[in-house]
């Protein structure tokens, strides 16, 4: 579909299609960004390997569904349990010794375990593209004149449910309040009897779990599982910078905005630049935001006191 061709209705349909795909993909970005923000809020650790966590989720779910032929109601919980185990291993084995170390060490350690995960996945399953199990019917249905793929719709619905669930969890449950307290001030939380290390572990487990869910959804959206899913994980950076590194609302809004922007720029600028604009547009946005408003839309401004 080349923009400029066709009448107004076709152009409108094209733009709406891009918007809807953008919102659907953006909601998955929002989900992954949520995990990222949780870890950062709770422990000020930045995870530079979100792509590999997404890969992990996608491969494990593929393995349980297609390789071991488990029924869905066993495979999906099993995948989630494995991801929680991974989160615990990462927090306990790798990040706990790193508490208090300079940020470059923490960044490198996240690169380190991302590399280990990638290597192990490569060793066990190889790097060929695996077809992802079709969890949804491939027939597009029509929202007015715009054809929408059910995968996109279901992924959007699932992400909205998860985000609402997380918001309620943080607002009303005891553990959610404990996490918010730790994110606010670790020392005070400790003095009130909250196990800060437990909260760290919990935040990592939630992060790996949402990355896994993101991997499953992205795998179904793309129809295949291969190592390029890791690049999608890196898109979480423009999202969290746009939204603010420590804001959950920012992760959601930023995710949808980046998804929409990415698709719109891809749809309209690809013919001019010869393709691939979708990959680089979010990073151009990233640079602009870092220049204009480094703390994002909803992030807390850090004031350095001397």
């Amino acid at each position: 579909m080349i923009p400029g061709d066709g009448d107004v209705t076709e152009q409108l349909v094209f733009m709406l299609q891009l918007l809807i795909t953008g919102v659907a993909v953006g909601s998955v970005y929002a989900l992954m960004a949520l995990g990222f923000v949780l870890i950062f809020k709770a422990s000020s650790v930045v995870n530079f390997g979100p792509g590999e966590l997404v890969l992990f989720g996608a491969y494990i779910s593929w393995a349980t569904i297609l390789q071991m032929h488990l029924p869905l109601y066993i495979a999906l919980p099993l995948t989630l349990v494995t991801s929680i185990a991974l989160g615990l291993i990462i927090e306990r084995g790798v990040l706990r010794p790193m508490i208090g170390e300079p940020i470059i060490s923490v960044i490198m350690v996240t690169f380190g375990f991302a590399s280990v995960i990638r290597g192990v996945l490569n060793m066990v399953w190889g790097s060929d593209t695996r077809p992802f199990p079709a969890l949804f019917s491939p027939e597009p249905f029509h929202l007015g004149p715009v054809p929408v793929s059910p995968v996109h719709l279901w992924s959007f619905v699932m992400v909205v449910i998860l985000l609402v669930a997380f918001s309620l969890f943080f607002k009303y449950s005891l553990i959610g309040m404990a996490m918010r307290a730790t994110a606010d001030n670790q020392q005070v939380a400790l003095s009130l009897g909250i196990s800060v290390k437990g909260i760290f572990a919990l935040s990592w487990c939630i992060a790996t779990m949402v990355s896994t869910l993101g991997g499953i959804i992205l795998g179904s959206v793309r129809g295949g599982v291969d190592f390029s899913l890791a690049d999608l994980g890196l898109k979480v950076f423009p999202v969290v910078i746009l939204g603010g590194l420590d804001s959950i609302m920012g992760a959601i809004v930023g995710g949808v905005l980046i998804g929409v922007f990415e698709n719109l720029s891809g749809g309209y600028l690809d013919p001019i630049f010869g393709g691939g604009v979708k990959e680089v547009a979010p990073f151009v946005v990233l640079v602009l935001i870092l220049i204009l408003r480094p703390y994002g839309l909803f992030g807390k401004v850090e004031i350095e006191r001397v």
């Binding site: 930045v46 690169f111 590399s115 490569n122 950076f237």
Partner: protein, 369 residues
């Protein structure tokens, strides 16, 4: 059997006359100038000269395969020193090193292929272009610190990668860019042995320049910025000038390394400059030791030899476990990740610190401090 006193006096005389000149002890500093000397005694200078002489004779005996490995180590040393200047000495976190290497490599190739410059002009010119590029991407460092700067350099990497893949008229995109063979006075430098001398000729001055940099005002300014940049600004270190200078020098090094890389691989693909390359260089300086020139060298050697050691292990295991060859790439990732994690947990100051400990042990033996 000599008596106990005889043994003890022999040991004492040995330490006094033989151990002293051999080891780096007795470095008394009587003048301010002595404080700034790189080598306190003559022994290390002699040792270094012997080492360089030895390196010059290696191409006569080494096989092409190992010369290739040594060339890659040489290139990695230059790149790692550049990155260490930026991250280890100035404290500016940058994940964009692969982008700078790519700019250096492609500019060299384009200058030689299209402008027909000889390589000894193309590589410095490309390094200057890369330095300007680094200056541009160092501008965010004036506003951003730490994590935000790291993310900004990540974005710079992706934008550069996109530009390289899509600017096909200049870079050939994914089809690759052929690098012409360098010639020096009519002699074609097309073998690994000849490239070895070129790389050695580039690595030695750059290492000495870096080592010397940190006893000058510029180097001290860098270290001040790393330690506490607000305090540095208060005492008059211009953050603008020195942060940008750090990016400039570091990118110059990356440009030289990239240019040598172009000649080493003969054909350039964008695949050779992925984010993993930047992470490899980061690992080099972290495993080797941040803030240490010797550390960069150790890290470069370690990271380049790691896949070679794995290949040797796989070859020896292939009798027992025939699939081991296919697993090398993934095994490298796993071991690389584990090495980073282990070093960061147990020895955050890297191989340079381990080496310093071993050296001090022998220097002070039998005393412990």
């Amino acid at each position: 059997m000599p008596s106990l006193t005889a043994q003890r006096s022999a040991l004492f005389l040995f330490k006094l006359f033989a151990w002293g000149p051999l080891m780096k002890c007795g470095g008394f500093r009587l003048r301010y100038r002595d404080d700034e000397r790189i080598f306190d005694t003559r022994a290390p200078i002699v040792a270094l000269a012997v080492l360089i002489g030895f390196l010059c004779t290696i191409p006569l005996v080494a096989s092409t395969y190992w010369l290739d490995v040594l060339n890659r180590i040489g290139i990695a040393i230059i790149g790692a020193i550049g990155l260490n200047i930026l991250i280890g000495f100035t404290g500016q976190i940058s994940i964009g090193h692969a982008a700078f290497l790519a700019v250096g490599a492609y500019t060299t190739a384009v200058l030689e292929a299209k402008a027909e410059l000889p390589f000894y002009l193309a590589i410095p010119a490309a390094a200057l272009v890369t330095a300007a590029f680094g200056l541009l991407f160092g501008l965010p460092s004036l506003r951003l610190k730490g994590l935000y700067l790291a993310i900004a350099t990540l974005a710079a990497h992706f934008i550069t990668a996109y530009a390289i893949i899509h600017w096909e008229s200049m870079t050939g995109g994914v089809l690759g860019l052929l690098v012409p063979t360098p010639t020096l006075f009519g002699l074609a430098l097309d073998s690994d042995a000849r490239m070895f001398y070129v790389i050695l000729a580039c690595a030695i001055p750059t290492t000495f320049f870096a080592k010397n940099l940190f006893r000058t005002k510029v180097g001290r300014a860098f270290i001040a910025i790393r330690d506490r940049d607000v305090a540095a600004q208060v005492i008059g270190v211009s953050l603008l000038k020195y942060k940008l200078l750090a990016f400039l020098i570091s990118s110059f090094y990356a440009g030289v390394a990239g240019g040598l890389m172009a000649h080493h691989s003969r054909i350039l693909f964008p695949d050779a400059f992925t984010l993993l390359v930047a992470i490899d260089y980061l690992a080099m300086i972290i495993i080797g030791g941040m803030g240490s020139i010797l550390g960069s060298i150790f890290g470069a050697i370690f990271m380049t030899l790691l896949p070679e050691v794995l290949k040797l292990t796989a070859t020896s295991l292939s009798g027992v476990y025939p699939q081991s060859f296919g697993l090398i790439a993934s095994a490298r990732d796993v071991i690389f990740g584990l090495a980073i994690i282990t070093f960061l947990i147990f020895e955050p100051q890297g191989l340079a610190r381990i080496w310093a400990r071993i050296r001090n042990y022998w220097k002070l033996w039998p005393y412990s401090y």
